[in-house]
Amino acid sequence: MHAKFSPEELAFQAEVRNFLSTHFTPELAARIHEPSTFKEATIEWQKLLDNQGWAANGWPVEHGGCPWTATQKYIYSSELAAAGAPDVMPMGIKMVAPVLYSYGSDEQKARFLPITKRSDIWWCQGYSEPGAGSDLAALKTRAVLDGDHYVVSGSKIWTTYAQYADWMFCLVKTATEGRAQQSISFLLIDMKSAGISVSPIISIDGDHHLNEVHLDNVRVPVENRIGDENKGWEYAKALLNYERTALSGVAYCKRMVRDIEQLMQGSHSGFGLSSSDDIKARLADIEIDLMALEYLELSVLNKLDKGKAPGMESSLLKLVGTELQQALQKLRWDVTGGFAGVTEPGTTGIAPSEYLTQSHQIRREYMFGRAATIYGGSNEVQKNIIAKVGLGL
């Protein structure tokens, strides 16, 4: 038993670091953070990753994935987060692609996988509906067969970055009777189709990430259905588990710890690290939990490497990881002494600049971070899963 990296793993770590320091420039980082350049800069960054062969690292090797061990995946995502570099947008490469290569036809694979890998198309996810959040069985969007097309009508909600999307992957009802789970199909829909309209939902950080997508008699070719009719729920479920394992966010948390240490050393916060045992204790409680979470994640990865499938461990990682993220987002907001509440800093520079430069990010991550315990199956749903699967209750 050991936790040390092997020479090969250390070499891989150095390779990732080297790539990041040369390709993830401060200029690129700034353009990704700025809403007006977010989309183009994100695509540019994903293409850089793809040129390196890393964009679709989780895919099967035959489709362009990397033959990485779980340890390598851990190193890769840790280094990305440590550098503050975003991972690829999940909707295409991480969410629809596994469904495509697992259940899609050869034509569908050939058509969509390469352009998804190259970030030539932007995907959005059409699962949630008004009135059906964590409960996908309550979906109402209907797809009625009309010749070689489905006619789709309904609404999807909380659709992340639908305003940028070229395509949507979507769960729709294709049968009116039978169990809800056996009446759902998985469709790919071109966002330029007639009858689609996207209305923005402003979220509590004041930004526009989310949307409602209205479908009004949208005609979708039958060939855009993945797998069998009425089996979409099964395909989507396999994918949900994947979504959760990606959510523990230890490396992101570590970066916030560094931010907090720096902020607390600033002369302005009133929370000097050296002088206040109570604030050190608050940070230490979180950091200690984080140390444990890191090894909880590593031990799950270790099991994956040994060929065991992740069960409710992914629920556990999501639960603990998102709670720690929120605790750190809160503490980081707090140590600015109110300055992270500034949304527009005005012109002249009287205020302590070290807070104002970070204020936008600190506030936005705190605010939108509240969603982390809601999306991807709310933490209450994760607890239900653990109670059932983990404890047999």
Partner: protein, 366 residues
């Protein structure tokens, strides 16, 4: 011991609650201010000597609590309860009388410039300097997060020397030409400003406490302002709890109202408990003011710490229990959360207040 409101207070409460419940969120601020004046609310907390009605912290909290419940921003706290009451506590002078009469009539607004680094500052670490000259005073330094850039006058807190009681208060006109300003928008949809004083000249009459005593007066009005601010948070907490209970009663998942899930019920009971605890602590602080309790500073620190902690927990739970609706601007949950966060930050957050409480409570013991 008697916690009941008198008849006048009951009547005031009814009209205040009705006014704010009917007040649209985007009401024109100048119009609202004029109505406050008309209703007598801007004169209410002042003694009859200066033209007020001599009401107490109870009445002031009725106003701020109703504003909090209805998510309404107003300079009432910063202009009337903080700046106005600080002016009132100063000895008689021309500037005091003229400013007070303009404030009570609703013709002007005023603001206190206190913090220099962040809301975490305490009165002990202020560095802004006022030097006495033959013509009057010269002000140098920086102030940050000063409430209400629309205020006509700013009362700047500055050091005139090095001893404990050398803090004083100086009236500066907002349009003083030597004043550098940076206006900041905050996430609760209010504005504040940072001010730089580069040897700003003031007449001798600008000094409000020529005989000293500003620190004590300031501490007292800050204590009462913090109680009124806590009442605003209370109003927001009550509104959030109410909307959460209603939402979970109506929202269905897996075929039943999510409000019927026991785990969520128990969490809403925790929210309820938070709100009842803060309400009781506000009552305690109000009584400490009315009874002239010597422990008021300690009680206020405890109150601000408690309200900061519990209101944020409650607001975060309200977001969580609203699910996707909670993180969107479709419902006002986020507005309440942002206001609650700014209330916690103002005058020093829960961590800072707890430390202050510990100093006042244990440092003499150990």
């Amino acid at each position: 011991m008697d916690f009941t409101l008198n008849q006048d207070q009951e009547m005031l409460k009814t009209s205040v609650d009705r006014y704010f419940a009917d007040c649209p969120e985007d009401k024109n601020p100048a119009e609202m201010w004029a109505e406050f004046a008309e209703l007598g609310w801007l004169a209410m907390p002042f003694s009859e000597d200066v033209g007020g009605y001599g009401s107490s912290i109870i009445e002031s909290c009725m106003l701020t609590e109703a504003m909090g419940r209805n998510n309404i921003n107003s300079p009432f706290l910063s202009s009337t309860l903080l700046a106005g009451k600080l002016l009132e506590s100063a000895p008689a002078s021309d500037i005091r009388e003229s400013l007070l009469s303009a404030l009570l009539a609703g013709e002007q607004q005023c603001s206190v410039a206190l913090f220099e680094n962040s809301y975490a500052d305490t009165l002990e670490n202020l560095n802004c300097k006022a030097e006495k000259t033959s013509e009057g005073w010269t002000l140098s330094g920086r102030k940050v997060l000063v409430d209400n850039p629309a205020a006509n006058s700013i009362i700047v807190i500055a050091q005139t020397g090095t001893n404990a009681d050398s803090l004083n208060a100086f009236v500066v006109s907002a349009d003083h030409t030597d004043l550098q300003k940076q206006i900041l928008a905050l996430m609760d949809e209010t504005q504040v400003q940072n001010l730089a004083f580069n040897e700003v000249k003031l007449p001798a009459s600008a000094c409000l406490f020529p005989e000293g005593g500003a620190a004590n007066a300031l501490q007292m009005v800050m204590n009462e302002s913090i109680i009124a601010l806590a009442a605003e948070a209370q109003g927001a907490m009550d509104a959030l709890l109410k909307t959460t209970v209603e939402y979970t009663r109506g929202r269905k998942q897996f075929g039943v109202a999510i409000g019927s899930f026991q785990a969520l019920q128990h969490r809403m009971v925790d929210m309820f408990t938070h709100a009842e605890m803060t309400r009781a602590m506000i009552l305690r602080a109000q009584c400490a003011v009315l009874d002239k309790d010597a422990n008021l500073p300690m009680i206020v620190a405890a109150l601000k710490a408690l309200v900061g902690k519990k209101s944020r927990q409650l607001a975060e739970e309200a977001v969580q229990l609203h699910g996707g609706m909670g993180v969107s601007e479709e419902m006002p949950i986020g507005r309440y959360l942002r206001r609650i966060m700014m209330i916690d930050a103002s005058f020093g957050n829960a961590d800072i207040q707890r430390r202050r409480y510990c100093q006042l409570r244990y440092d003499s013991v150990a």
